[in-house]
């Protein structure tokens, strides 16, 4: 074990062209910088403390869901059911809350624990179904998760008879929604904590490395003695869990649970991953960049709201940005190999 770490110094010091930076970082830092400069220049309120706090709070759900989505995409999969899991787990959490409070109105902490537990289990369950379908039955991820997405909306709607579940107690909303800890709202702290966990998972653990291996070359992973099934399954489990966290937090924030609550997040999370340089072919991507991607989407929406861009036009801009990043991703892959 006396080998010198000489390879650390082997990074070429010469090439600092724009191209090499782009290949290294992806297009995201450029987009992020451009949008911040533009909005800061055209609307002074954009950089105000209030607005920045707002951006941070708004971005939490997307960041959490996008990290789950990323884990799945890294294994060369896709999770279209993320948004439905948000709705489903939120409804399950709210129902559990009401159930416990209905029988024993004093047990407020028990009800909160039951709600969080039930919500997260709901997400894990859907994740397990997705994982089973993709890894054991061999259903293509797109079709499998499209299927669960569709039926899950039905399940959630029938659980609630199509009505929003309300009556969420204030303690629950303060604890997980709008309270203040260390000057920050709980969702922000939870997001930071989850980010650290996912970062460690993907960069420091064998499981994380195997996610990349399975997505990069599943056959090579198999020949290296890695169980691809197990890791594909695990990836969907993580995605389900993270979406469920977002679902529970969403209920705490809004005070009501609905089947369609999380729908926009599915595609936005995929967009955040792609803008963050996560390859849809699997095996490539960094959590840090996914976080920035989710932030970028939030900042773009927030900024466009501030400068009063019409919502239809906002849609056009978001779509265009997504396509530009996909093209950039292709280009980057080409230059990388």
């Amino acid at each position: 074990m006396s080998t010198p770490l000489s390879s650390l110094s082997s990074t070429p010091a010469a090439a600092f062209s724009a191209k090499s930076w782009f290949v290294k970082l992806g297009i995201l830092p450029f987009l992020l910088a451009a949008s911040i400069l533009y909005f800061a220049g055209s609307e002074p309120r954009f950089l105000s403390g209030d607005n920045l706090f707002n951006v941070a709070r708004q971005s939490t759900f997307l960041i959490i869901v996008a990290m789950g989505q990323m884990i799945v995409i890294v294994t060369a999969g896709l999770d279209l059911s993320a948004g439905s899991i948000i709705g489903f787990s939120g409804v399950v959490a709210a129902l559990a809350l009401n159930q416990v409070l209905g029988t024993s109105p004093e047990a407020i902490w028990l009800s909160i624990a039951a709600a969080v537990g039930a919500g997260l289990c709901a997400g894990l369950l859907v994740g397990a179904i997705n994982g089973f379908g993709v890894s054991v039955l061999g259903v293509p991820p797109f079709m499998m998760t499209l299927g669960t997405m569709t039926s899950l909306i039905g399940v959630t709607l029938s659980l609630t008879n199509g009505l929003p579940v309300t009556g969420v107690p204030d303690e629950f909303m303060r604890l997980l929604g709008y309270g203040r800890v260390l000057g920050m709202t709980p969702p922000i702290l939870i997001t930071i904590g989850l980010f650290v966990l996912v970062f460690v998972l993907l960069n420091r653990t064998t499981t994380g490395r195997y996610f990349y291996a399975v997505g990069s070359n599943a056959r090579a992973a198999q020949l290296s003695g890695i169980s691809t099934r197990k890791h594909v399954f695990l990836a969907y489990l993580f995605a389900g869990l993270l979406a469920a966290v977002a679902g529970v937090l969403f209920v705490a924030r809004t005070g009501s649970a609905e089947a369609m609550n999380g729908q926009p997040y599915t595609l936005q999370a995929i967009a955040a991953c792609v803008i963050g340089g996560v390859s849809l072919f699997g095996g490539m991507g960094r959590v840090r960049d996914v976080l920035l991607g989710a932030l970028f989407i939030t900042i773009l929406t927030n900024g466009m709201n501030l400068v009063r861009v019409e919502s239809y036009v906002q849609q056009i801009v978001l779509g265009a940005v997504l396509i530009v990043s996909l093209v950039a991703d292709q280009l980057r892959l080409k230059w990388l190999t």
């Binding site: 770490l5 990074t11 990069s216 070359n217 003695g225 095996g283 190999t337």
Partner: protein, 529 residues
């Protein structure tokens, strides 16, 4: 110099038509100082080549020597950076395959350009459909296809869907497609690679017939026997450069290999001491239904190299793959050291100390976009040496990768570089480094030198020697006959899913191996002494 190129655009002018007629003293096709670069790799540099009418001209060289680039250039699929192509002494410029075809150059590549869900007829006429009033003229198409199939002597159902045909039949379709336009130059890229012996002989008949008609044939093959059977002239390439053009009559096997590799036999293949110890790998009565492998039994002892030889698709590769758990075993047992493994899986075999180095680096060997370090350590990451409680010990991982990469002489070694950016030789070395990350005593090399240059090849052989000298057992599975002949202490020959011969020590020799390959000595009747 005459700067008027013949291209597709001026093809119909009388001058161009005239230039395409034969000119006495000028070769049918001449390539002059062709250069082609891909990034930093010189696929071809200053390449020259001449093809006469009525000649079978073999291109011979290792993988990566530039044969494919050369024929792609001639076929119009690749544009050279510089240099020129002449037909009958007249410069031509080919912008794509279609234009080359119009000028009478047709190619049959190894990768089939067939649409699997269309019929034989539709495939043969693809891109050249006879039309009437803008609609496909079905009757004319049927007649032309029937004509070309008859000319070639192929019995194919024109209505059959290509996906339902055997590989050999698909090749016939490809051939018919190439011959549809009655080309003057026909390029055949390893045409016999997937053919049975009977089909090979039929193909040779067809090639001879075309040669009599004055067609110039460029023929790529790795099989020296084939060169002797069908070739008139052979041009040897190495590392993208022209080496020599010689009449087939005047060279022998050894000379060809020396031209190809630029080394003498002794230089290329190391002498490995045979000090056979206890058996480390025993495969008994192995049957794999999927490929028709039946009752294969082999044994590899400590301190020896055992070879498995045979034609492509004979089942030799599946013996190694089944032993590593990559094929479903119908019958038979696999023993590593004293341990009988009932149901081999890659994870189980790695744990038992058996490493399989795949022949298919790209698809099942390496993660092309991931770093060298991650590739090298992948299979060992879960072991106590590299992780604790699921957390990767990163400093150890790095030093292990550094050590193994250095040992295999991956050069220049950059642990953070994506493996896909390395040359084939370095990729192969990374692949072998990877197999060393886990402690192993039995190594199965499947086509260990496919697609790598000579210097890397020498290093791979030297490494095999190193393993054997240290008392490990090595099984080499290879379609490169000189390779297995010269490395192996013992050689098994596989034909049609069965082991048909076993040679030990001095018995290992080419003619006996070829006899085993083909069953009866049809192809070896021109055996040189």
């Amino acid at each position: 110099m005459d700067a008027t190129y013949i291209t597709f655009d001026n093809l119909r002018r009388p001058a161009a038509q005239q230039a395409l007629q034969a000119v006495p003293g000028e070769p049918l096709l001449r390539a002059r100082s062709i250069c082609k670069r891909y990034g930093n790799v010189h696929a071809l540099s200053d390449m020259g080549f001449e093809l006469q009418e009525g000649e079978v001209h073999v291109l011979f060289g290792e993988n990566g020597a530039g044969k494919s680039t050369l024929i792609s250039t001639i076929a119009g699929a690749v544009q050279p950076d510089s240099g020129e192509l002449c037909m009958h002494g007249h410069p031509v410029r080919l912008r794509n395959v279609h234009e080359a075809r119009k000028l009478g150059i047709a190619a049959m590549f190894q990768e089939f350009s067939l649409a699997p869900h269309l019929s034989v007829e539709e495939n043969i006429m693809l891109g050249a459909e006879p039309c009437r009033n803008g609609f496909i003229d079905g009757k004319a198409r049927r007649e032309r296809v029937a004509g070309v199939l008859k000319r070639c002597g192929f019995s194919l159902d024109p209505q059959a869907m290509v996906a339902t045909l055997s590989r050999a039949q698909q090749q016939m379709v490809e051939m018919a497609k190439a011959l549809l336009t009655q080309p003057k130059v026909l390029i055949l890229d390893e045409p016999t690679a997937s053919l049975s012996e009977k089909e090979t002989l039929a193909l040779f008949d067809l090639v001879r017939k075309l040669r009599e008609q004055g067609v110039g044939i460029i023929y790529i093959t790795h099989r020296i026997k084939e060169i002797e059977t069908i070739g008139d002239t052979v041009t040897v390439l190495r590392d993208g450069k022209y080496i020599a053009t010689v009449p087939v009559r005047e060279v022998n096997h050894q000379r060809l290999v020396e031209l190809m590799t630029g080394r003498t036999f002794q230089d290329l293949y190391p002498r490995i001491e045979h000090r056979a110890g206890e058996p480390l790998l025993r495969i008994d009565g192995l049957s794999v239904r999927r490929v028709g492998l039946e009752g294969a039994s082999i044994e590899v002892r400590a301190g020896e190299v055992v070879g498995l030889a045979g034609l492509v698709g004979c089942g030799k590769s599946e013996i190694g793959r089944a032993a590593f758990g990559l094929e479903e075993i119908a019958e038979g047992t696999v023993r590593v050291k004293d341990q009988t493994i009932a149901r081999p899986t890659p994870a189980g075999m790695l744990a038992a100390g058996l490493s399989y180095i795949t022949s298919d680096r790209r698809n099942e060997g390496l993660m092309m976009l991931r770093s060298t370090q991650e590739n090298i350590t992948l299979s060992a990451l879960g072991s106590a040496a590299l992780s604790r409680l699921g957390l990767v010990r990163r400093a150890r991982e790095r030093s292990m990768a550094q050590q193994l990469g250095t040992r295999l002489r991956v050069h220049p070694l950059d642990q953070d570089k994506a493996v896909g950016k390395y040359s084939g030789g370095n990729q192969q070395k990374v692949l072998i480094s990877k197999s060393l990350a886990r402690p192993a005593n039995v190594f199965i090399f499947d086509e260990p030198t496919v697609g790598i240059d000579v210097s890397a090849r020498v290093e791979v052989y030297a490494f095999i020697k190193e393993l054997v000298d240290a008392g490990d057992a090595v099984l080499v599975i290879s379609s490169d006959l000189p390779e297995v002949l010269n490395l192996s202490h013992r050689l098994y020959v596989v034909r049609d899913g069965r082991i048909v011969d076993h040679m030990v020590g001095d018995e290992v020799e080419e003619s006996r191996a070829l006899l085993g390959f083909f069953g009866d000595p049809i192809l070896s009747h021109q055996d040189h002494p």
